[in-house]
């Protein structure tokens, strides 16, 4: 006897409201699962995309202790190092503290060579070299605040407050795009020499020196060997340093989140558990209501396995449909969700891996939720089943 495929679909349509409600819960749950996992992915994105031919040298004591400017030439002469450029976190406020974005003072003449992932048009790159107050602005930041080439961005210094009480003025030389997730498009790069001259002229407060040095390697030595050489150079001070790969450097910021990633994962577990119960409930209801139908099927000569498969397939179909819609919703809303959280998380992407994982989870929920009602239906005696109320 042929398997009654049509019944699977008929049954799903038998209680349209219930099927719709279950599908809606599944959609919501799997949308949430994809979103949570993508957030976790986003936290790691910067680490994964880091360049392997760059190292970062920072103070071994603290993120907030600067390294002397004199370290630059010493690091540059270490075998294996091609170049070393200075980075200094500026921490300025644009109009209001809630407008948060990163600003870095960098060695302008070397930045674009050491970071090929920062793409800026020729005119912008030239202007950046020519004008002391020039800056490069990330495309997403420019979009958010409407910055255009030639605009002037006033920044109130917090770490480097100007003694005249005025804001620092930066002139937008170009809008940059980034080809890799390790550099976001929400940053302002301006010239280290501008900061340094203002500092030396005693026009502003703040620490001397550079926050970190970014080292470009020449590829002739192993990165670990170069790290060890640089660290050894300053072991006895004045500032001990710690040189790590760019990935390690990024990892320290993720590591700071402490229990947050575990916490997000447990929420995902809770969601999955709740949806499993909801589908199981629906399928038990469906099985119970159809007791009489199953009696007829069995009386007609269908094997018990067919009855089992009917419920199992219905459950799987329900979950794949609902879960699939959830995945589609999360993909469709990628831009909207990413935009809403771009301040906290610059990279938000629902990867294919996430989609596949969600689909597998949906399948698993379908199987688990279908087995128990299916097993119950399989063990029904024909007479009892037929006697059940319609």
């Amino acid at each position: 006897m042929r398997f009654p495929w049509l019944l699977v679909f008929k049954n799903l349509g038998g209680r349209p409201l219930r099927t719709f409600l279950t599908l809606a819960s599944l959609t919501v749950a799997f949308f949430l699962l994809c979103t949570l996992r993508s957030v976790l992915d986003g936290l790691e994105a910067g680490i994964k995309a880091s360049a392997s031919d760059r190292l970062v040298t920072q103070s071994a004591v603290s993120l907030f202790v600067s390294l002397p400017d004199s370290y630059q030439s010493k690091i540059r002469s270490v075998p294996g190092v091609d170049d070393a450029i200075r980075w200094q976190w500026f921490g300025g406020i644009y109009q209001d503290p809630s407008n948060f974005f990163a600003q870095f003072a960098v060695d302008h003449d070397r930045l674009l060579d050491v970071y090929p992932e920062i793409q800026v048009d020729e005119a912008g790159a030239e202007e950046f070299l020519r004008k002391r107050t020039a800056c490069l602005v990330g495309a997403r930041l420019a979009e958010q605040y409407g910055f255009r080439v030639g605009d002037r961005i006033p920044l109130q210094g917090t770490i480097f407050p100007r003694f005249d009480g005025q804001a620092w003025q930066l002139d937008v030389a170009g809008i940059y795009r980034s080809t890799s997730a390790n550099v976001d498009e929400r940053t302002v790069f301006f010239r280290y020499d501008y900061l340094d001259e203002t500092r030396r002229a005693n026009l502003c407060g703040g620490p001397q020196g550079a926050g970190v040095y970014v080292l470009a390697l020449d590829g002739r030595s192993a990165p670990e060997a170069v790290s060890a050489r640089v660290d050894a150079l300053f072991r006895n001070g004045p500032q001990a340093v710690q040189t790590t790969s760019e990935a390690e450097f990024q990892r320290q910021f993720v590591s700071m989140l402490g229990g947050v990633p575990i916490f997000l994962s447990s929420i995902g577990g809770g969601v999955l558990f709740a949806i499993l119960l909801a589908v199981l409930n629906t399928m038990l209801m469906a099985g119970r209501e159809r007791t009489h139908d199953f009696g007829i099927l069995k009386a007609l000569g269908f094997k018990s396995g067919v009855v089992f498969a009917l419920l199992l397939l219905e459950s799987i179909g329900l979950c794949l449909l609902g879960g699939g819609t959830g995945v589609l919703v999360s993909v469709a809303s990628e831009k909207a969700v990413g935009g809403a959280i771009s301040l906290v998380l610059p990279t938000y992407e629902v990867s294919q891996e996430t989609q596949l994982l969600a689909a597998s989870a949906a399948l698993a929920v379908g199987v688990i939720a279908g087995v128990l009602p299916g097993w119950r239906a399989m063990r029904l005696e024909v007479v009892d089943a037929l006697r059940a109320e319609v």
Partner: protein, 387 residues
Amino acid sequence: MRLPPLSYNVRSLFVRWSSTLLTVVGIGATVAVLAGVLALQQGFARLYTDNGRPDVALFLRPGATSEGESAIQRQQAQILIKETAEIERDAEGRPIAAGEIYLAVRQRKVDGGETNVAIRGVQQPSFTIAQAKIVEGRSFTPGNDEVVVGEALVGRIKGCKLGAQIQLNTSPFTVVGIFSCPGPSSSEIWGDVDRMGPILERPNFSRVVAKLTDAKHVEAIAERLEGDKRVPAKVIDEQSYLTGQTAALSWTLWVLGTFLAIVMGAAAVFSGMNTMLAALASRTHEIGVLLALGFKPYSIFLGFVFESLVLGLMGGVVGVLMTLPLHGVRTGTTNFQTFTEVAFAFRVTPTVLITAVGFSLILGLVGGALPALRAARLEPCEALRRG
């Protein structure tokens, strides 16, 4: 008009126990997630807001938003302490005020990975002001390379135990004591301010902290020093300062909690509605009997809403029970306003409980309204004929 016996509705829930159980646990899981996020937010926020005192004044550099970016020259600090008459005096007549240095330093966590721990160079009055007590070992000897660590760091950060050494730049410091104090300072390392200055290359104080004779003086001092030519300073009471430090993380958790509550709540409502619809379908005959006995459709509606509310409430109770074991569980995250790790415990406060139970009742109400309406609209004859 009479309501149907509510015990009828409650007992109906137990007749279909397997379905009720699944729904209750499902709603419970939803409520538990919301309650968990709230308990995290409460634990974090209360650590700060409960422990700031309005009569402790902080003097920062004008324009500074946190002590990490603040700097006050030592001579200025002396003038501030000497000339602020509102500062309380101890038994010997000395002002209860201290200049402190603050820096987030790199430390390794016990379970791997790196984090930033606040190190504070303190003076003797700091202990009095922060209500800090040595609970193990002894305090550091001024001038020596010794530190005491806050008890919240013990077991979390490597080197934070009695007798261990903590490397600061080129010098090792010995941990000679463990201190306990209310508030986020229990996640800090304290040492002599005169040793910390040179080691951390911080020639200036980060802040001056003082106990005032009365909380009402803060405003007057703030006004007086805001535009002061000689010693300009931003003055803020400790309570406002600490509350400000939690704003960003509290907001993030609040947004996360609301988002999850709405999204997961929607799923739970759908599932609850399903249960109630199935209940309705299997009880059509009974409703017919109730209607025939003279109960008004309005009463039937209320009875079903009540049943759904009970279902929601049971879910809420289960959810809260699932959350309770979290209470007191210690966790840590970085407060990105100070860039230091703070340890705190989940706290299932009355606010969490009330919100969770209220949320579960809303889920029950929304999920039950439509099925109840359907029940109320049944025609007595039609209903009696069924089943």
